[in-house]
Symmetry: C2
Subunit: 335 residues, 2 copies
């Protein structure tokens, strides 16, 4: 069943059928109705591939995330998909994992499918060495590229992010102002946002006259038991700490587990802060003090900006929002 069949049954030309399908201006009400009747009656569905070929677009956006099992990324995927759908775009999802090569493969895949735009979820995609980001720049020559929670200076690349440096500064500030003297920073990787968070942490420490060296910056393997172990090891090497500022909620939960294992009371003996305000922060006991970086808002904003790019508007290359602190029971109460 194709457009010719419909045109025959309705006694019109294929052009008219096409016009009806795309409800283009000039079709008489009578003709339109006749065509619509036939379409309904035959259950006709236009062929998406042929349509794409003509229009050179499938109204599809490529979504790249490293791992949607990460609660935070999953939320982003969900919100982005919803917003895109509201604008009649479908989402092609790619879960790249962490390896650069794999990311590049996926990018190539999406471009070969001629997606209309790309959204990178999370700062995992921005490598420290700028040369390694060239693949993103290349992609941006073909389609607009959006980066959530990461930033890259390049034509046709737009960043939407939370001011992680500021939020990290504030939350470090919070535990310091409530008595912490030897905080450590727990991170998964020094991705773009990881580095920003680290900056905030260091700045806050400096402002409080607290000396921080690399022994206070703890890379964690990522999962909860591993994080717990990393902190145990840290303690065994003789580093004393009374606060853990974690780069995400899962790491913070690892710190909670560590405290429980070592019988340290939270927050009296150990203050802990997370990041993301994910469901994990609520699962933890006590609930985490964490940063809400407004992921839903960021996703809505990103898609809305994307649509503007499609419309040919000029856009700022970076849009930055502020997160806010949600106080749970892992930091000492304020006055």
């Amino acid at each position: 069943m194709n457009i010719y069949d419909i045109s025959k049954k309705a006694g019109v030309s294929i052009a008219t059928v096409s016009r009806v399908l795309n409800d283009s201006a000039k079709v008489s009400a009578a003709t339109r109705q006749r065509v619509l009747d036939v379409i309904k009656e035959t259950n006709y569905m236009p062929n998406a591939f042929a349509r794409s070929l003509g229009l050179n677009s499938m109204y599809t956006v490529g979504l790249l995330c490293s791992d949607p099992s990460d609660v935070y990324q999953a939320q982003a995927v969900c919100y982005l998909e919803r917003e895109l759908r509201n604008h009649s775009y479908t989402s092609m999802l790619c879960c790249t994992g962490g390896r650069l090569e794999e990311k590049q493969n996926y990018l190539h895949l999406l471009l070969s499918r001629s997606v209309d735009a790309l959204v990178f979820i999370g700062s995992h995609f921005i490598e420290q060495s700028d040369a390694q980001n060239s693949y993103i720049r290349e992609a941006a020559k073909k389609v607009p590229v959006f980066i959530l929670n990461g930033s890259l200076e390049a034509p046709n690349v737009y960043s939407v992010l939370c001011d992680d440096r500021k939020a990290s500064f504030s939350i470090t500030e919070l535990v310091l102002s409530r008595g912490a003297r030897s905080p450590v920073f727990l991170y998964r990787a020094l991705s773009y946002s990881g580095r920003r968070k680290l900056c905030g942490f260091q700045d806050a420490c400096q402002e409080h006259g607290i000396f921080v060296d690399e022994r206070h910056l703890i890379p964690a393997p990522g999962d909860i038991p591993g994080t717990c172990l990393a902190l145990e090891n840290l303690r065994d090497t003789g580093i004393i700490f009374d606060a853990v500022v974690a780069a995400d909620d899962e790491l913070a939960v690892g710190a909670v587990k560590y405290a429980q294992k070592k019988n340290l009371s939270i927050p009296e003996q150990l203050q802990i802060t997370g990041y993301n305000h994910s469901v994990l922060s609520l699962c933890s006991t006590p609930e985490l003090t964490t940063v809400d970086n407004r992921i839903e808002y960021m996703c809505t904003a990103a898609v809305s900006l994307l649509m503007q790019v499609f419309e040919g508007k000029e856009l700022p290359s970076m849009t930055m929002y502020s997160g806010f602190i949600v106080e749970g029971g892992t930091s000492r109460p304020g006055k």
Copy 2:
């Protein structure tokens, strides 16, 4: 840059270029090399839309989930996408939410894009009233449909699931054998797997001579505070319970929060079990006793079955695996 440009530069016909691209049999080594050189040199990428039109397929599978922010669904999405990608298929993701109408819209969308198959993640898609599932049956007339953790008897519909009834029976059995006398069942919705879990719970109770009526079957709103509240209300109505068998980990965490709020010791005064063995079960303190329903395995299996369907093989309409229990600290220790 299209296949004609390449053919000119290489001094061959477009047919030959096409043959090289699809590394089809008969092309002389010399010609092939010449064409490949031109392709490399020009950075030529075949047009995906034109290709799809010819082949009538984009090698794309539609993935439908209600909400990937649900950790369990997110994992499934991730594994499915990975496996599909390994078989050279891309994934079109749809997050439908819970409303039937929205699910149908999404289904229609995917079909209009001519995906090669559909995978429904989670049993949310199988309605209790069979008539409401007709939209899935309709879809199955066009493309093969896979259902993860749900089941529907229909041509071209294949179910891959964990034996939830059995697992739920076992885990209920576990808390009963360890002293629980008045368990309640906590669920989110009576979806296909929800109903199976309920059956397992009831059967185990019956076998232990424990009377269960509907007051012991607690629908929870879903989120943690809401679940906590639901249990408080239950207690206020005078229902005594010493075990909570929850249909998923998040609900179980709600029960943990309830116990903590009411100062009930876990597992002495209240045993709690979850379901899914998600990261939430590890975040909780104590860690949950829960069911691992082998989501990764199920996803791998589903995709492998899907590929067999594409190859035209006959397949059983249902493939069922057994889950297993992971003991945490929310159930009393065995002897």
